[in-house]
Structures are given as C-alpha cells and as structure tokens.
Symmetry: C2
Subunit: 339 residues, 2 copies
C-alpha cells in the first residue's frame, strides 16, 4: 500500500550513536514493511549493536561503511573539510546518488546543514535552506521554520520559507491550502521590523493561504498550520519552549513528591499523569527537515532516545513518500520573487 522507501541512516550520530539508532531502525522495520534502511557507519560498532539485539542484515537492512564520525561539538567547516568519509556525509551522498530516498542524522546540526548543502546543493529558486519541525498545539500540530539555519534573513528568504512550509504541511498532512502565519510582535500589519513588513507584503501576493501576522502564543494555539520566522527567533522560541516544558514537568513531579499525602495522591493520579505525559511527549515531534536542498535530510535531536529517533525516521519516510521535494520544486519554479 505505502510506497517503498529507503532511508539512509547516519547510525553513528547523536549523543548515543548505534545504541539508539539501531533499536529505532529495528523497531521501524518491524512496524513498516515498506521501509528499507541502509545503516551508515563503522561496521564493527554497528554489527556489535545488531548482535546485541539478535538482529542481522537482510534485504531490508543493509550496511554501508563509513570510516569517520563527526563529533557533536565539531565545527561545521572542519567536519566538511576533514571528514570526507564520515557517516553523516556518506548517508547524505547515498541520497544524492539516488541509493536512498532520504537520510536521517542525529549528528550536530551545523555540520549536517553544511555537509548537506555542500553535497546536495540548493534547490533552484531557494537562496537559503531552512530547518522546519512540527510542534504540538491545542488542536494538533504546527510546522515552524526556520529554527536556526539562518540568523539574518531578508524578506525574500522568509517568503521562500513560507512557500516551502506550506508545501511541506500540505504534502505530509494531506492538507489542502494550509494556512501560513508570519511571526511578529503584533497582529497588525503596521507592526514589526522593515523585514517583516516587506515579507508580509510579499506573502499577501503569494500563491499560498496567508493568514497574516501571528504572535508567539499563536504557535501553541494552533491559529495556523505553518509559522514562519527567521532562524534566530525560531531557535530562541523552540529552546525556550523546551526549557519551560522541562521546568513545569519538574515542578509538577516535585509537587507530587513533597510528603506522604502527595505521594499517595500521585499513586492515584499516576495513570492520568502518564496519559498527560504521553500526550505532550515532545519525542513524538522529533525530526526536523532541512528544507531547500535537492534531497530529503532530516535531523533528529542529538539527545533522542530510540523512541524519538524512530519518529524522526518515520517523519523522513513521510516526507519522501509524499514527494515534498518535487512539490516544492514545482511551486518554486512558478514563482518570480527571489532575493
């Protein structure tokens, strides 16, 4: 039923490497018979981890050797220049060479972006790549971009992000004419910087369902399907959200641990608290697209566990299955605006 998809997995990336990537891959292969995976990395490390799970290579699970690993704190330029046989780079090359439909890495974002850009090149008509992910909302989820690929954006970049975001949301969620909001410090058109005002002007004339300006709280209210902002703002909002959610979870836990009565209350409330936790579990939102490149590249959180990493793999497969790249390319080729 589902289209067959081959995922190239940087099996060495992330804080935990194969200990997380391999179990995630094995679980995905069990769940989705239309998936094939190429594990990329140091054969000894990958084989050892496969053995630990009593798993072996198969027509659906192959291994592609890469002799180097990009460190989580390695400067992007250094990774790009000195580690030409890194698991990250080789996984991306498999996409470039048509041997995989998409690739996933939990490796360092800067190095992944630099390498992907170098290996795959930008899509014609897109000047800057953007990082996009979904976040939970009261009503479902929202796509937000850019989350940190660009610190300085001109209006045309935001315009291109909006086009890409709208197509991503439309393709992956099957939404007809998803709504797009431009993040601003007020809903009124007269508010915001010159860049934002000009971007709003471009977007009002764009072939997308432009809702207008939105504010920070609109992200979680589900006001629109896609929120567009520059990478500095998007990154700050995303990380502040992670920090706040973490703080609230910690305070909630502590409230239930205070004394004997509260511990008893926690016992009674446990199923409810667990269901709440599952509902707001950020791990199911793991997986950020590097958009604007000539290939599907998905970045997993570096600290992802195997549950979260599997979600990133599924997300990459959904992007490939729904032909996000072809759709973006088609849309962009019809635009006339560029920076």
């Amino acid at each position: 039923m589902s289209e067959d998809i081959t995922i190239a997995v940087d099996a060495m990336g992330g804080d935990y490497g194969p200990a997380v990537t391999i179990p995630a891959v094995l679980e995905l292969l069990r769940r989705d018979p239309a998936i094939r995976v190429i594990l990329v990395g140091l054969p000894a490390a990958l084989e050892a981890e496969l053995k630990r799970h009593k798993a072996s290579l198969s027509p659906r699970l192959s291994l592609h050797e890469a002799s180097e690993v990009v460190a989580m704190d390695e400067p992007p330029a250094q990774a790009l220049k000195r580690k030409k046989d890194s698991s990250m780079r080789v996984a991306i090359e498999l996409v470039r060479d048509g041997l995989a439909d998409c690739c996933v890495s939990a490796g360092n974002t800067g190095a992944l972006m630099a390498t992907a850009r170098f290996v795959l090149k930008m899509m014609p008509g897109i000047e800057r790549p953007a990082i996009a992910t979904t976040l939970p909302t009261v009503t479902g989820h929202v796509y937000v971009l850019d989350l940190g690929a660009n610190v300085d954006c001109v209006a045309e970049h935001l315009y291109q992000f909006a086009i890409m975001g709208a197509i991503l949301a439309g393709a992956v969620d099957g939404k007809d004419r998803p709504t797009v909001g431009l993040l601003n410090i007020g809903h009124e058109a007269i508010k915001g910087s010159e860049v934002i005002k000009r971007a709003a002007e471009l977007l009002r004339a764009a072939p997308i369902n432009f809702h207008g300006n939105v504010e920070g709280d609109d992200i979680y209210k589900g006001t629109v399907d896609v929120v567009v902002c520059d990478g500095f703002v998007g990154n700050a909002v995303l990380k502040a959200s992670e920090g706040l959610a973490g703080m609230l979870a910690q305070m909630l836990r502590q409230s239930f641990k205070k004394n004997l009565f509260t511990r008893f209350a926690a016992l009674i409330a446990l199923p409810v608290l667990n269901s709440f936790r599952r509902q707001v579990d950020h791990r199911q939102y793991n997986g950020a697209s590097l958009l604007g490149l000539k290939g599907v590249v998905v970045k997993s959180h570096g600290g992802a566990d195997s549950y979260a990493f599997r979600h990133a793999l599924q997300y990459a497969a959904a992007e490939a299955r729904n032909h996000v790249l072809d759709r973006i390319e088609a849309a962009v080729s019809q635009l006339e605006v560029s920076a």
Copy 2:
C-alpha cells in the same frame, strides 16, 4: 521600616479598568502601611468602585482627575496627540512632577511607551527604552529584556539593556553582581548574527558580570540572573511561553476530566495540583518595567486580575524603594560606549 512610596495608578487602564485596579490598590494599602496611592481617572467611575468596596479616600488614598481614557487598541500616536488628559498620561505626569515615585498602568503597551517617553524623556546615555520583566525559573526568577519596545537593535542598544538589567536585578533582588547572559542560538562566541557578536564583545569589556551567550532554554533553567535580547525575540519568546503554558494547563485539566476514574483522581490530587498551580502562577510575575526613562513606569498585563495587578503595584514600589533609576543613571554616566 520600608521607605514611604507614592504610586500613581492609571485606574482606568486594562481590560477591566477600576473593577480590577481599585480592589488591587485597596488590598495593597491594607498590606503595606508605607504605601500611598494616587488614583488617576474619571472621578465618577472611581468613586463608584470605591463605594462598592465600602472604601473612601484618605491621606493614603487620593484621587486625581483625568477626563480621558486610552483605548486598549488605540494607536500610540493617536493616544499621544489627541488624549492629553488621559488617565495614563496624567499618571506619568505625576511621576515627572515629583508627586509620585512611580506609576503603574495596565493600558496598551505602545501608548504607554510612547507617552512615557514623551513625558519623561530618556535617561542620558540610553538611546532606547526597554521593557523588562521577571519570569520564573527552576531556581527562582530571571529578568528578561527587551520584551518588545524595540524590533531592531544595534549592539550598543543590547549593551545598554544589559547594564540596565544588571542594575535592576541587583537593586530589586539585592543581588551582588548579578550574572547577565546574551540570548543567542548557541553558547559559542562564534555563533549568531553580527549584532550579537558585536554586543558580546562590548559586554565582555563591560563593568558587569557577563556570563556569555545563553540559549532559549537557559531562561527557565535559571542559568543567569538577567537575559538580554532584542524586543522582537523577547516578545516572541514571552508570548510563545504564555501559549505553551496555557496549552499544557488545558491538557492537564482535560486529562483529569476524561472519565469517572480520572475525576476521582483529580479530587485526590486537587491540593497537589493547586499547590503546583500557585507555584507556576504567572500572575505573581505581572509587572514589566519600562527602563531607560527618567521615571519609574510599570506596565501591568492588560488582562490582569486584581491579584496580578497588585503584584505589578508591589513591583513598582520595589523599584522605587531600591532607587533603580539613580543606580542606572550612576552606572550609565560612567560608561563610554554609546550608539
């Protein structure tokens, strides 16, 4: 013991006007014998609300007439030009004329900022005013600025915000050498826009306890005492945080309302949930300083209830009592950097 402080209160401002401001003032007067309040607004409306609370004017509670009210959605320029006898403006003028030590308004932010800037003028050496507030952290609270007064900042503005924020935190919380972080998309000095890099350079040479770059999650982790950013980013982060907290609260409530068992669990857990709610109650963080002006002006959330509004009043009094303005002026006069 505490120094006597007179607060000029824009009693007409906010979504609810006197219905919120008057009970907040009355409660504060009961709690703090060293506070005097000048209510500013339409006498009939204020007297009616006082009567409802069986309260009357006294040496500690006076009324100053203002014949106009700035609407919550009124454009700042219009409020400034056409409403010269607004409760907001008259309250600020009482500060300018030395009849009050500080003023508080829940009126519209843009109008309050424009009017305060026009009436009070900027402090010498500060080019741009900034909006600062406290947010809760795992370990206490953090001061964040700017939250929306400026959408485009140069490095020197961020530098001046850092100086003002450090003095605010030091003065109000009695902290010796509070730590200051510059919000960025990475901790490394090489990351971020040119403005951020230059601001970090200035801050490394500044007479403050500069921690270096921080990321969005550091805000709620309590990594530093003060976080500095431009108003666009600060506003987006603040509003996204409000949206996320609201969404999580709503989902938690819903989890406890699902069925008979969860309702029973809620009953048992109620005291714990209430204590958690009090702990993370954003209303106790109500009250944002308009910094950089020659006078203490505090903005309350427009939708504040009387509990929240009282916190804004207390915050204004604390700022005045701790001579924040004098301290900022003294610090700025010793600086050489300006835009």
